[in-house]
Amino acid sequence: MVGVMEDKTVGYINGINGSVITINGSPDFKMREMVIVGNSKLIGEVIAIRGEDVIAQVYEITTGLKLNEPVIGTKKPLSVTLGPGIIGNIFDGIQRPLEKIRDLSGAYINRGLTVDRLDTDKKWDIEIKVKKGDYLTGGSVIGEIQESEAVIHKVMVPPFVEGEVIKLKESGSYTINEVLAVLKDKRHENEIRMLQEWPVREARPYKDRQTPKQPLITGQRVFDTMFPIAKGGTGAIPGGFGTGKTMTQHQFAKWSDADIIVYIGCGERGNEITEVLEDFPELIDPKTKRPLMERTILIANTSNMPVAAREASIYTGTTLAEYYRDMGYHVAIMADSTSRWAEALREISGRLEEMPAEEGFPAYLSSRLSEFYERAGFVTNLNESEGSLTVIGAVSPQGSDFSEPVTMNTKRFVRCFWALDKQLAYERHYPAVNWSNSYSEYIDELALYYKNNVAPDFMEKRTMVSALLQEESKLMEIVKLIGSDILPDEQKLVLESCKVLRQGFLQQNAFHEDDTYVPIKKQYLMMDLILKMHEKAKTLVAKGIPVSVIRKTEVFNDLIKMKYSIDNTHLEKFKELETSIFNKLNELSMKYER
């Protein structure tokens, strides 16, 4: 980057309305420019220009701000700082490290703190991967750093920068600000450091987008088996309060087979972030055998933090995620909750006196949502590596009403919709995913993967499960009116087998050491065995054996308990269980024949 002498843009505060201020006094402010507001130097961003009035949102609490205090333009859009030191860290909505802030200001977050987003003193060991004379382009990896035990950080040439390496440091220990290489193109000499900046609202470029074909395996049965999401896919988890959105996202963050997790606590509870901070360093990633924190990035704008930064937190998180995708990683974003983000948009829009659309939300709600989910994808990066960004957003519908604007609009842009159900949550059926209202549009794309990597008939079995559950819901309509006693036995069997499916398969106990994460192979074996039992029991019923008698053999209960009785590392026990179940059923059958 070439240094230019900067003449500052300076204006003055002319109005304050909550987190939105009006600035007068300079025509030079630009849309989306980052500004430094007032004597206490708060961070803000220009969001509208109306004649003389420049309007900015302020990312910190505006209490005490006065009229006529100066506002200084930075000439840069709001950006994130990219480089080693992001993994395992916790940032606020505009990427200020919260642990550093704690060291500076104690338990509470004060205003106007200046902290480096990444540690500028720390030296990182880099292994240089290029040599002088190489011609590098955007995305080219110039060196590698072991950022955490689980993640190798690739120092890349920023997008749109290229040139021949004319100067190059040797492998060794450097800070993020030191120049590692100089690239010379036709016009410029570009300095490359570990650190680069990127505007948060701009998607980082890639070379090509691919159709997602691999599932993001989460270890959660109702997701992986019934409604799977692809790496690079989009999914939404809508649900009323207490239905399990956060628990589900925590489970995904813990156990999914992404390389890196970006967890964005957007307008939610402080304690939920603290929980991650306390638990993740203790939990071991089944894939890398390292503590989960070593692949996790946390962004926290809790519900009591300033609302404008809530709006930014989603973009900050997404940009960090894209940066790691560019290195060739599979990254998954958990955004909890996108509704709070939408509400932040609404609040700011209200203060701008924009014309509201539904329920006070701005008319651009839907385009903002679509832009956000559009940043997901399975891509070929600029440097030819493959990476993906999976985006999973929680939605908190007001009044648990799925027809409200955020849920409705989200539904248009995601391909997995996991509807959480209040009734199931009341029954403590967790995860409370409603199997009739939920869907995944990735089934076809992923079929081949499941076929080749799990079982040839995986998708057929899945369809059978779905069909059985559907039959059950129809029968339940009747049962509600007349009870189950007078149903014919083959229908009773459907109810009984579906009970096994619901309790033994769909329900999953996040607090059980084995059941919290179930390998996909085991998921298949469980589903398979339930279906086999059902088919066999059908033949017994056909012979006139009542379901009540079959129940006495305990086969249903054996299956409900198999999630606990067969642990994740002893899948060969499924054969034993199958034998035992078939023996019981055969015995009964023979007794009746006699």
Binding site: G15, I16, N17, G18, T22, I61, T62, T63, G64, L65, K66, L67, N68, I90, L98, I101, R102, S105, A107, Y108, I109, F241, G242, G265, G267, R269, G270, N271, I273, T274, E275, T302, S303, N304, V307, R340, E343, R346, E347, G350, E359, G360, Q398, G399, S400, D401, Y426, E427, R428, H429, V479, K480, I482, G483, S484, D485, Q503, N557, I560, K561
Partner: protein, 464 residues
């Protein structure tokens, strides 16, 4: 800046507008004097050189000419010291007990500052309230925010008072901050009495904004109270229990101000920022890594028309760590406390119960009770269609279980204190009304250890 201005330019509901002001600070407190009476207000918006001020004590009797307005240069501050314990203050934090001003060791902005999540400590210690429906099924954790969702005429005050009386908040080092917003005089008096009877009055700070007090004042009452709570918890290392009632009145006050400002409403006329505003109160509960103390909040709210989807309960539950829901049906059947358990939830209980905290069987037992009781509701619905006599034998078992569960587990006397062992054992006894095969949330080991089939009569005879 400490200037005085004569007159006003506009009066609109609780808001007044003053033109020609230079150097006013956002959210600064102003004093408006008219006819010798002083009221407080807060700057809520600054435009060019006009400021909009929200007047806490209301604007009645103000005119454009009869006022002087003084700018204090500061946001609202609360004087703090340990001597505040035992005091009674009004909705703006001024003593009304005739004992003079509170000696101030420290003063703090009542709006507080956001707690850094990296400074929090995740709450894990349970508080025994002696109430089975709470201890067993929606366990209260020290540092939790757990509201009571109630309706008009339901015994939420009685329940809250019982919790305060029985909660073993741990030894001497506890305090109660009681915050009344728009409640009747009787209610405040009831709590005072009950604190007196249990001999904790000198550990209580009461903030009273009663039904006939200015509506707008309600906005600052909880902030004053929570500032005191933070001081006691994090400077004096005390375990503080905060009761805030009624959050619905609070929210309605917020709605009133918002509509005077002509803001675009979201649901039911409430402002779009109701969520963030409520969060700025509820999130002040919790624990800190490097401090001993804690703030446990029990906000109380009345659900208009018993509607849990109303914005106030709905947004509250999206912020708090669960909710205890009271139901009219149980209340009418004479069940006290009428805790409707299915929609009730304690989110923090998962890390604060079980082995090493309460008892190893607690999590699974609670799950089983929830699941079985959910089944009871289904069967009751069926019974209302086909008649109870037509139910299958198993379903009849559930009907019996449901009734006894309500009568013996949920119901208890308002001065009855059950320890956690009693509560859990009682749960097991009641499960004895169901055949073993129905207990699908419990593993064989637990069933072996605790389950004993009982018949209905033995439960009735024993009477508990």
């Amino acid at each position: 800046m400490k200037l005085e201005y004569m007159g006003l330019n506009e009066i609109n509901g609780p808001l007044v507008v003053l033109d020609g002001i230079k150097g006013a600070a956002n959210e600064e407190i102003v004093e408006i004097t008219s006819n010798g009476k002083k009221r407080l207000g807060k700057i809520v918006q600054i435009k060019e050189d006009a400021v909009i001020i929200q007047v806490f004590e209301g604007t009645s009797d103000l005119s454009l000419t009869n006022t002087t307005t003084k700018f204090t240069g500061y946001p609202m501050m609360m004087p703090l010291s340990e001597e505040i314990l035992g005091r009674i203050l009004n909705g703006t934090g001024k003593p009304i007990d005739g004992l003079g001003e509170v000696y101030a060791e420290d003063k703090r902005d009542i709006n507080g500052m956001p707690l850094n999540p990296a400074s929090r400590k995740y709450p894990r210690n349970y508080i025994q309230t002696g109430i089975s429906s709470i201890d067993g099924l929606t366990t209260l954790i020290r540092g939790q925010k757990l509201p009571i969702f109630s309706g008009n005429g339901l015994p939420h005050n009685k329940l809250a008072a019982q919790i305060v009386r029985q909660a073993k908040i741990s030894g001497e080092n506890f305090a109660v901050v009681f915050i009344a917003m728009g409640v009747q005089y009787d209610v405040a008096e009831y709590f005072k009495q009950s604190f007196q009877e249990s001999g904790v009055l000198e550990k209580v700070v009461m903030f009273l904004n009663l039904a006939n007090d200015p509506v707008v004042e309600r906005i600052i009452t909880p902030r004053c109270g929570l500032t005191v709570a933070e001081y006691l918890a994090f400077e004096m290392n005390m375990h503080v229990l905060v009761i805030m009632t009624d959050m619905t009145s609070y929210s309605e006050a917020l709605r009133e101000i918002s509509s005077s400002k002509n803001e675009i409403p979201s649901r039911k006329g409430f402002p779009g920022y109701l969520y963030s505003d409520l969060a700025s109160l509820y999130e002040r509960a919790g624990m800190l890594k490097d401090r001993e103390g804690s703030i446990t909040q029990i906000p109380i709210l009345t659900m208009p028309n018993d509607d849990i989807t109303h914005p106030v309960p709905d947004l509250t539950a999206y912020i708090t760590e669960g909710q205890i829901v009271l139901g009219r049906e149980l209340h009418q059947r004479g069940v006290y406390p009428p805790v409707t358990i299915l929609p009730s939830l304690s989110r923090l209980m998962k890390d604060g119960i079980g082995e090493g905290f309460t008892r190893n069987d607690h999590p699974d037992l609670a799950n089983q009770l929830f699941a079985s009781y959910a089944k009871v509701q289904e069967i009751r619905a069926l019974a209302s269609v086909i008649g109870e006599d037509e139910l299958s034998e198993i379903d009849k078992n559930y009907m019996r279980f449901g009734k006894h569960f309500e009568d013996y587990f949920i119901a208890q006397d308002h001065d009855e204190e059950r320890d956690i062992e009693q509560t859990l054992d009682l749960g097991w006894t009641l499960l004895g009304l169901l055949p073993k095969g129905e207990l699908d949330r419990l593993n064989a080991g637990l069933i072996e250890e605790h389950y004993k089939e009982v018949d209905e009569r033995s439960i009735q005879v024993k009477g508990f």
